[in-house]
Structures are given as structure tokens and as C-alpha cells.
Amino acid sequence: MNLPMDTETAVEVADLSVMAADSAGARRPIVDGVSFTIARGEVAALIGESGSGKTTIALSLMGFARTGCRIAATRLRVGRTDVLALKRRELAAFRGRNVCYIAQSAAAAFNPARRILPQVIEGTAIHRLMSRAAAEAKAIALFHALALPDPEGIGARFPHQVSGGQLQRLLAAMALITEPELLILDEPTTALDVTTQIEVLRAFKRVVRERGVTALYVSHDLAVVAQIADRIAVLRDGRMQEAAQTSHLIAAPEHPYTASLLAAAAPTPRAAPAAAEAPVPLLDIRGLVAGYGAVRSSGLPTVPVLHNVDLSIRQGSAFGVVGESGCGKSTLARVIAGLLPPARGSIRLEGESLAGRAAARTREQLRRIQIVFQMPDVALNPARTVARIIGRPLVFYHGLSGAALRRRTAELLELVHLPTSLAARYPGELSGGQKQRVNLARALAAEPSLVLCDEVTSALDTVIGAQILDLLAELRERLGLSYLFISHDLATVRALCDEVMVLYAGRRVESGRRDTLLRRPVHPYTELLLSSVPELRPGWLEMVPPVPAARGIAAGMGGRGCPFFPRCPHGIPDLCAREPPPLRMLAKGAEIACHRSEEDLLALQSQKSATAAMPPPASVSTCRELQCP
């Protein structure tokens, strides 16, 4: 089991194949002849779409094959261990001691009923590595290194008392405490908001460098990987397409597939058809207040989510809504669709006032607004065929039947570029991208004027997501549709929309035309959001100025002041915490809600970018190391 120590390479994989048995019993490779090595202290990345075999490879490094799969390799070595030669018992000791795994969902890795610290140091007790006190001291040192707030006290909390980004870092501490020979990170930031992701990435990178950890980073996101990995291997259908130094791979991809991944990572704006100037906007919302829970005597719901939102969507335009998770984007879509009656405010469809509840709207009004959801898996009834799913709105709104119904169904499938032979299938028999197309076809069947798209590309791979964006742009041009396009991903919003609204904690903080808003943000939150989107160039992470330490949530809570105040780098201590920010029309035509004037904010921005060009004093040492190799 113990191999001669090779001081240079920490991981060696030669000709790794993983065979899976399909339902018919036939064997099919899901990983096919993959070879690579990882040097000691190096961070290697595996990148590819879902189903390309990235996680399978990562798991086989721990000697773990999914049910029905078999691993074969001429060499599979981690540290001094020949993984394939390990027996069951030895495997259990090997995992968690020699190799640690950080998965996408930190919440699933923690027991919600136990405090965090004992869970973090559990590995040291299982493998009998050190005393409890030593382990706790070490955990706290790791919390410091991972830039967690209140490193001494955070371990006493329960998992639900910390944020998702913090939990992900605590999971990293749990993995690193046994000082494994290899750390595997499987999409560790994919479920996080960009603003959180950047903090987690920064923390990961710092520990990895400081402690010389050897790591394998698995992701679909090239821009993220470019920040942290020394080398990148591109996978597709279980085969290695290309492997190169990060800067080299990004500057000069050799394989066409790598080039297509690079292209999908930075989507180009789809051409927008010239919108006809209609006198009345298609959808006009004024002073919208909405939320969940019982309505209190003040007329407001117990959990208010949206506060005084105004928006107006022109005929034929694509209106983007961006903001962090939980800011109320989906709630907005639900209100417009009539699924959640607003507490206050008006909604007008071409000047006609809409009732709050769908049941009180006319069928014609219902037909004109259709909603498309994020998760293709739950958006389609699994017990109905595609034909029946698409056919239902045709029957319901247009009264079609028989041959006309079949013809129109086939037309709709064609419209979303699906073969008509799919009509007889059940949703379980479709791929994610196909499901999302059926999902769209069902909305289009109603012949709507406005389609509410709630994160329609978020659950899809970048390349498939880009195809759906293309389809949306094409449909808009062919059918004159308007969209309310909700996303947490600025790149997709930029690709499709011509007007954008930024929501923060249920309030509109900035809105305006795409080009002005996304190229020259004015509001401090928009600026933070934009500067947090990873860029496809190594070293970007070090260039972004770190977010200032939160002022303490209490500072901005409860009051009527600016909700962004606790995180705002330019907040004016007394004013912003107490007074609601006024709306300001900007010279470029956008609107912001902020106490500071446009000139003020722009001046502050240029000041900040000037200081950011130099390494911030707090992390001088790490930056120097990284920038001058």
C-alpha cells in the first residue's frame, strides 16, 4: 500500500477509466483514459459541463465509485497511497485523513442540531491526531486564516446561525484540520451569490497558498477557476480535451471546445430589435409593496419583501432584474403573475389595471402574461407527456382540439428547436436543456405579450444556458415578445436585456438602460455587484478591492434608512442609517436611490480604483507573493 515517496508530485493518475453499467447492463465509460499529475502545493482544476465526469474523477481519487461504477487505472496515487489497493477499512481511514472533500452544499455536510466547533474538529478525534484542546486551537487558527468573523466565538453557533458563505468556509476548516495530502473542492462557490463568492474565493486562496495545500478544484466556471488554479484540465464526455497552465489556456486555448467554453463564459449581448415606441408601457407597476404571511392591521404583511417598487416595461423590450438571493426577485414575478396579491400598489397591463389575484383576472389578461421557472425538473408535470403539457394552454386559452391542436403543438416544438418526435415523451426522458425548451414552448402556447423568466438559465450549464439565451433573443425578434428577465447572474442579464433594475433587500436601488447601468454603475451596491463578477483573467481576484467589514447588521436594520448601509463603503453614518435615501435622476438617464449625489459617488469610485491598483495594506505579503512569481 505504501509507495515510495515522490517529493515532487502529490497526486498521480494514469489512464483512469470509470465504467458505469446502464439499465440494460451494458458497460459504458463515463471517464475514459484520463491521466494527470498534481505537484505538491499546486492547485489543479478540472473544468467541464455537467456530465463531463469531473466529479467522478474527483471521487475516484478518494477510492469512491458511485453505485454500479467500477474504477480502473494503471496508476492512482495520492501521496504515498495506492488508492486502488486499499481495503474497505483502510479506505475509510484514508478518506477524511489523507483526502478531504468540500462539496457544493455546505449545509448538507453539517449536522443542523450540533454546534459548529465540535463538528469541525471531529476528524481529528476519529483519526486520533491530536488532543481536543490542540484541535480547537487549530480550528480557531483556521477560522482566522479563512477570514471568518468572530473566529473565537463562531464555533459555538449552530449551522443555521451563519450565512451560506461562512458555512462554506467552515467546511473548508473542517477539511483542512487533518492536514490532508489532497483537498478536493467540488463547485464550492456555485451556490453562492457573486458578492459572497468573492469573499469565499479569497479566503480559500489565502489558506491554500499560506499552508501549501495541494488541491483539486472542480468547477464549470472558467472565470472562477482562473483565479485560483495553477493548471486547468478541460474535460468533455469523460475525456481530457486539453490541459495547460492557467494563463496559457485562457490566452491561447488549443482545443476548439475550450474556445467554446471561453466564449460561453463571456456572453456577447444579443442584438435587440428596435422597440416600437408605444404611448403606454406594456406593464407599469407603481408603489408595489408585497410580502408573505398574515396581513397586519397596518395592511402590511408580516414578512414584507418588496418595498415601494416602481417599474415600467416597454412593448417589445427585455427588462432585467438583478440582485442577490433573497432580495425579492421571484416575489416580484409572483406578484405580476397574480400568484401573490400585493399589499399596496398598482399593476397595469397596457393601461388596464390588473387584479391582485389570478382568479380575479380575465382569461385574456392571464393569457398575456406567462411565467417560466428556473428548475426545469419541477416545472413540468412528470406524469404528462410533452404533447399534453404544451397542449393544455392551447386547449385552455384557444380552445384548440384534434388535428389543429396537434399541428400547433408541432409548430411550437419547432419554434423552440425541438424535434416533433419528442411530443410523446415524458419530462423524465428529456435533458435539462430540452426540458427548459418545453417549459418555454408551454408559455409561448398562450401567445403571451410578456414572459416572466425567473432564472431560466441558472440551472443549466453555461453552453446550454447560452443556447437558451439565443433562443429567447430569437423568439423576441420573431414574435415581438417582451420579457421580465430575472437573474442573479449579471452576464446573462447583460446578454439579453435592454433595461435593468437592481434590487437590494426588496428595494429598487438603481435602474436604467443596460449599457449605461452595467458599464458605468453609480449606486454603491450596483458597483459592488458588478465588481464581484469574476473576470476571465488570472490575478483579477487580487485586483478587486475587498469589501469593507460589515458595519454590523444592527446599524441598518429596523430603521427606515438605506438597507445597504451596513455594507456600503460610502455610507454617511448618521444620515444613511436614519433617513430613507431619495430617488435621484442621473445625467445618463438612470435612477438611483442614494443620499449621495452622482458626482460624489463617481468621485469616490475613481478614488477607490486608484487605491485598489496598489495592494491593500492588510494583505501585502500574500499579494506580493502572487504578483511577482
Binding site: 400568484l339 408535470n381 406524469a383
Partner: protein, 286 residues
């Protein structure tokens, strides 16, 4: 973390065992169904014919399962009794599960007051002790096939309702139902088109369980002499009528009990197989 791996293996192994158990269960249940349907063809003697002078006779070539306290053929009695035991239980189960599912999904799909009223009503029903309620019903209305079916159905509807409602509440929150609601669909369309088709498998599983309970309830009623009335006899009454034979170890009292046991075990095995198969479908889908 990596702890997921062994758990997965264990699940897979359990699943393999389930599939085999399911087949055995299906065979047992199938045999009993066939016996009930084909009783007149299979039974060597008439339903109530006294064919022997020996009471509590042993197993023999002529009377494969011996004779009962009147000298009737036990095999024939069990075959004919299967019709009552299985037929009654099936009817009552269908009634209980059917009304439970319809009311449960109606409650979930409409929500609000209707949901609250139905749920409270079912809570009240479920708090009644089942056997006591049955005794009261039979005492008040006399024992007849319709009364027995209705009684068992009333007792087991609330359980079916609860399960169906919680299933329907889950499905109701799924995006495809939300889309249907935003489309303006009426409650009954949402119920029959979107919710019910996705409840079939779990409801079938529940159906099997409820069937077992009802078989046992009706058998106990018959054992107390309040079920099927002579000369007709279901398995429960056969056990009661021949209870004196217990001292002699007569097959006449043991065999009907064995019949009840095999039927309930068979249905249980079949359900397990079902649930295992369903889990596999889920796992493959992802």
C-alpha cells in the same frame, strides 16, 4: 462528505432484496385472488355441505385440510371464505382510499377554509377507537355486508386522507402546479390533471397497507361473531367456529388463521417491493 458512500451502498443492497420480496408477495396475493375468483371450480366440496361424520378430522386425501366442527371440508370453506375476506376488504379499502385521496387532494388544492374544515373533521374521526366504533355500528345497524364495508371504510378514510393530503401539499408547491394556477386553471382541473397523476404510486402503497388493516379488522369482527353471518363464513368466522378444535390441534382452526397470516404478509411484501422499485426509479432519474 464521503460518508454518503456506504449509505448509498446499503440502500442499493436493500433495494435488491426488496425486488425479490416483492415477487414472492405478488405470487402469494395472486394465488389468493385466484382462489377467491375460482372457488366454485377449485373447491372439492360444496360451500356449506356436511360431507363427513368426523368432526375436527385430520388432513387426508379426501379432505386435504381436514374437516370442521360440523364435518364440512375445511379446504372448500377456506376457498369460499376467501371471497368474503378479500372481497369485503377490497371494497372497503377502495372506498376508504378513494375518498381519502379525493378529499385530501381537494383540501390541498383549495386550501383555506375547506382545507381546515376537512382536516378537523378527519382529526375527529381518527380519534375514535376503530374497533369500538365498529361494534357500535354493528350493534345499531345489524351486521350485513354493506354495513361492514361502510364501517371499515369510515374507520380507514382519515388515515388515507392524511397521507394523500400531505402528498398533495408537496406536489401543490411544485412549479408546474404554480404555472397551472397562474394560467387560471380551476381547482378541479389542477387536482385531476396536475396533482392526482403524481400520487398514484405512493397511494397504491398506502392502499396495500390499509387493505391489511381492514382484513384484520373484519377478521376480528367475525371472530367476535359480529362479522359475516352463518351459513356464509369468512376466515375470521372459521377461526371462531372451530375454536374448540384448538385443543385437538385440528387443522380446521389453524388453517384459516394461516390463510389470514399469509395474505397479510403477502400484501406487505408486495408493498415493500413496490416502494423499492419506486425508489430505484427516482435514483435513476437523477
Amino acid at each position: 462528505m464521503s460518508e454518503a458512500a456506504p449509505a448509498l451502498h446499503r440502500r442499493l443492497r436493500r433495494r435488491g432484496r426488496n425486488a425479490g420480496a416483492g415477487l414472492v408477495g405478488a405470487a402469494i396475493v395472486g394465488l389468493w385472488m385466484f382462489a377467491a375468483l375460482a372457488a366454485p371450480l377449485l373447491a372439492p366440496h360444496g360451500e356449506a355441505a356436511i360431507v363427513s361424520n368426523t368432526v375436527f378430522g385430520p388432513m387426508s386425501g379426501r379432505f386435504p385440510l381436514g374437516t370442521d366442527y360440523l364435518g364440512r371440508d375445511v379446504l372448500s370453506l377456506i376457498l369460499y371464505g376467501a371471497r368474503y375476506t378479500i372481497g369485503l376488504a377490497l371494497a372497503a379499502t377502495a372506498l376508504a382510499a378513494g375518498s381519502g385521496v379525493v378529499l385530501g387532494s381537494l383540501a390541498a388544492a383549495s386550501g383555506g377554509t375547506l382545507d381546515a374544515v376537512l382536516s378537523r373533521a378527519m382529526d375527529t374521526l381518527i380519534s375514535l377507537p376503530g374497533l369500538m366504533f365498529a361494534l357500535v355500528m354493528v350493534a345499531a345497524l345489524g351486521s350485513s355486508v354493506p354495513v361492514l364495508i361502510a364501517t371499515a371504510a369510515v374507520i380507514y378514510t382519515p388515515g388515507a386522507f392524511r397521507i394523500a393530503r400531505s402528498l398533495a401539499v408537496d406536489i401543490n408547491a411544485m412549479d408546474f402546479v404554480v404555472v397551472a394556477r397562474a394560467r387560471g386553471e380551476k381547482t378541479h382541473t389542477i387536482m385531476f390533471e396536475e396533482i392526482l397523476p403524481n400520487m398514484v404510486l405512493p397511494v397504491l402503497t398506502d392502499f396495500g397497507l390499509r387493505f391489511v388493516f381492514i382484513v384484520l379488522l373484519l377478521s376480528s369482527l367475525s371472530f367476535l361473531g359480529l362479522g359475516i353471518q352463518p351459513p356464509a363464513a369468512d376466515w375470521g368466522s372459521l377461526v371462531r367456529e372451530n375454536i374448540q378444535g384448538l385443543g385437538y390441534g385440528a387443522p380446521a382452526v389453524i388453517m384459516p388463521a394461516v390463510a389470514i397470516a399469509t395474505l397479510t404478509i403477502g400484501v406487505n411484501l408486495l408493498i415493500d417491493g413496490f416502494a423499492g422499485g419506486r425508489r430505484r426509479e427516482f435514483a435513476d432519474g437523477h
